[in-house]
Each structure stands twice: as structure tokens, then as C-alpha cells.
């Protein structure tokens, strides 16, 4: 009995860890963490939330501040760039990386690209083969999710059997800890873990790009996160 409770407790810890990692994966699809511009993909720039607009030059002077990669047209980047008024003679300071990355010398203006534009472009860039990859990986994720649901259902059947056994012995409290933990685990897995997996699958295609290779690798990562509880 004690062993069963220990295993169930370990399962609970593992599920909380899975959820924690998935909650970390989801925002990282839209905004990667960074300390410098070169860490940001594409035309994104590293905007630190700890710095106000006048302090951004200090970030490039050697002090590393954690921030998020943003597009030049995003609200956070615009807040940093609003102090500049571009004109034909305007040049960015050499130590202001955000200004230098976002300023277009030819157009004499800052780039207006936003995360939304990037997301639309990602979907528009998808070709037929990419959509077929989405369909295939959706099927694979669907099978993984349905296996997870099957396991949850089996756990529920086991739980019901244990409740019936406890009632038959007139000792309803004997398996109470295990049953409560199982209730919690089943709820978290069914109504929190699985939707988060699906949400991440969609977000990864939208924000990280919809080419066949990326879709396959991202799906493998999600299935790994989903399947790791089976190791216990």
C-alpha cells in the first residue's frame, strides 16, 4: 500500500514537472529569452524589461540584462525607439544595438514589422508539403494523446476498483491518499496537460515557422514531453 502511494506521489511530481516545462515552452514560442541581439532569430531585437528606454545603451556596454526577443514594430520595441525622431541626417549611436538593428537607412524610418506580421508570413510561406507534414504530425500527436487518454481511463478503472474494494471491506480510508492523488493526476493530465500540448503544437507552427523539418522536430519534442511520464 505504501509503495503504491509512493509511486503515485512520484507520478504527481512528474506531472507537475511536465506542466511546468510545457508552460515554459508555450511563451518561448513567441518570445525567446536573450541578453543580446545576436541571440534573436531573424530581424528581432533583444528588449530588456528591466531597462527603460534611456538605459538601453548601457546594455550594450557590457552589462548583461535578460530580456526577450521582439520585432521592431512590437509595443515593447516601440517604447524603446520612441525617443528617436528619424530624419535624413539621423544616425543611430554606435552603442545602441536596438536602434541600429531596427533603423532602415534607405526608408529613413524604423522597421514596422510586428510579431503578428511574422506569424502571418509563416503561415503564408507554408506549401502543400508543409501542410501534409502538419496533417501527418497531427495524426502522430493524436495517437500519442489518445494513448495518454487510454492510460488515464485505465487508471480511473483501477481507482474505481480500489474504491469498491475499500467499500467492501468497510474501510473506505485505506486507499484514500492514493485515490485522491489519482483524482488529481487524472484531472491535471486530461484537462491541463493535453490542451497545453495541443496549444503548443499550434503555437510552434505559427511562431517558429511551418517548414516540414521544424514541424517534425517540434512534434518529436512535444511527444517526448507527453510520453516521459510512462517511464515511471
Amino acid at each position: 500500500m505504501l509503495t503504491r502511494v509512493k509511486f503515485q506521489s512520484a507520478s504527481s511530481v512528474l506531472i507537475w514537472l511536465q506542466l511546468y516545462v510545457l508552460v515554459a515552452v508555450l511563451p518561448s514560442t513567441t518570445s525567446l529569452g536573450c541578453v543580446a541581439n545576436w541571440q534573436c532569430p531573424g530581424e528581432r531585437v533583444c528588449i530588456s524589461s528591466f531597462l527603460n528606454s534611456s538605459d538601453h545603451s548601457t546594455a550594450s556596454n557590457g552589462t548583461l540584462h535578460r530580456g526577450y526577443c521582439r520585432q521592431c514594430g512590437d509595443i515593447e520595441a516601440l517604447a524603446t525607439l520612441k525617443r528617436y525622431r528619424p530624419n535624413p541626417d539621423f544616425t543611430c549611436r554606435s552603442d545602441d544595438c536596438v536602434c541600429r538593428a531596427c533603423y532602415d537607412d534607405v526608408a529613413v524610418a524604423f522597421l514596422k514589422t510586428t510579431t503578428q506580421d511574422e506569424f502571418y508570413a509563416n503561415v503564408k510561406a507554408m506549401r502543400f508539403k508543409d501542410w501534409m507534414t502538419v496533417v501527418l504530425t497531427s495524426g502522430v500527436i493524436g495517437l500519442a494523446v489518445s494513448s495518454e487518454i487510454q492510460e488515464i481511463t485505465l487508471c480511473e478503472l483501477t481507482r474505481n476498483r480500489l474504491i469498491q474494494e475499500a467499500q467492501r471491506r468497510d474501510d473506505p480510508s485505506s486507499n484514500m491518499v492514493w485515490i485522491c492523488l489519482e483524482h488529481l493526476n487524472a484531472f491535471l493530465r486530461r484537462f491541463f496537460l493535453l490542451p497545453l500540448i495541443l496549444m503548443s503544437a499550434v503555437s510552434l507552427v505559427l511562431f517558429q515557422g511551418g517548414d516540414a523539418m521544424s514541424i517534425c522536430f517540434n512534434s518529436v519534442a512535444l511527444i517526448f514531453l507527453l510520453e516521459c511520464d510512462n517511464l515511471l
Binding site: V123, V135, G142, L157, P195, V202
Partner: protein
């Protein structure tokens, strides 16, 4: 987490139920990912804002589990009624209109 003897312990009716559950979730999840991408592409983010966009997407995705359970219930009913395709179509149409109401209600409010 599943006991190795779990399969041996369940009876035939529970096994049927499990197969239906698995099928329903497979269909639900396989369709929701491409539909989620298409739906996200159709939403005018510039109008609704990124926060509402994420909310709409979350509502869509998080509603999959209860909707699939409805679908699964309908599948269980088809054994008695024999009207499987009509049942499935009916649930899918209801699900589709239910999802359409989420962005609509946000626009109206």
C-alpha cells in the same frame, strides 16, 4: 503509471469503451491542430490584438477535450441508434458553431 495487468482486468465492455475513447481523441486531436492553424490565420490580429488572439486560440484548443468527450458519447450512442454518421456530423456541426461563437462574442462585446 498504468498497471501491467490493467488490460487483463478490464472486461469486454470497458475495452469497447476504451477503443471508442481512443478513436474519438485521435479524430479530435488530428483535426484540431490544422484547424487551429487555419483559424489563427483567419483571425485579424491587428483588430483583436495579440492578447485576445491568444485567448481565442486558447478557448479553441482548451475546448477540444470536452468537445471530444461529447463526440465520444455520441459514438457510444451509435451502437444503440445505428445512426452513426448523422450523429457524428451533428456533433461536428455543433462544435463548429460553438467555436465560431467565441470570436463572435468577443467582437460583439
Amino acid at each position: 503509471m498504468v498497471h501491467d495487468e490493467g488490460w487483463a482486468e478490464i472486461d469486454e465492455m470497458a475495452a469497447d469503451f476504451l477503443v471508442q475513447t481512443k478513436f474519438a481523441y485521435f479524430v479530435g486531436v488530428t483535426s484540431v491542430i490544422p484547424l487551429g492553424i487555419l483559424m489563427a490565420d483567419a483571425i485579424p490580429i491587428h483588430l483583436v490584438g495579440l492578447m485576445y488572439f491568444r485567448l481565442i486560440l486558447a478557448c479553441f484548443i482548451f475546448a477540444v477535450v470536452p468537445m471530444t468527450e461529447i463526440f465520444e458519447t455520441q459514438l457510444a450512442m451509435r451502437i444503440k441508434t445505428g445512426k452513426r454518421y448523422r450523429m457524428i456530423l451533428f456533433v461536428l456541426i455543433k462544435t463548429f458553431f460553438g467555436k465560431c461563437l467565441v470570436p463572435f462574442s468577443i467582437f460583439v462585446s
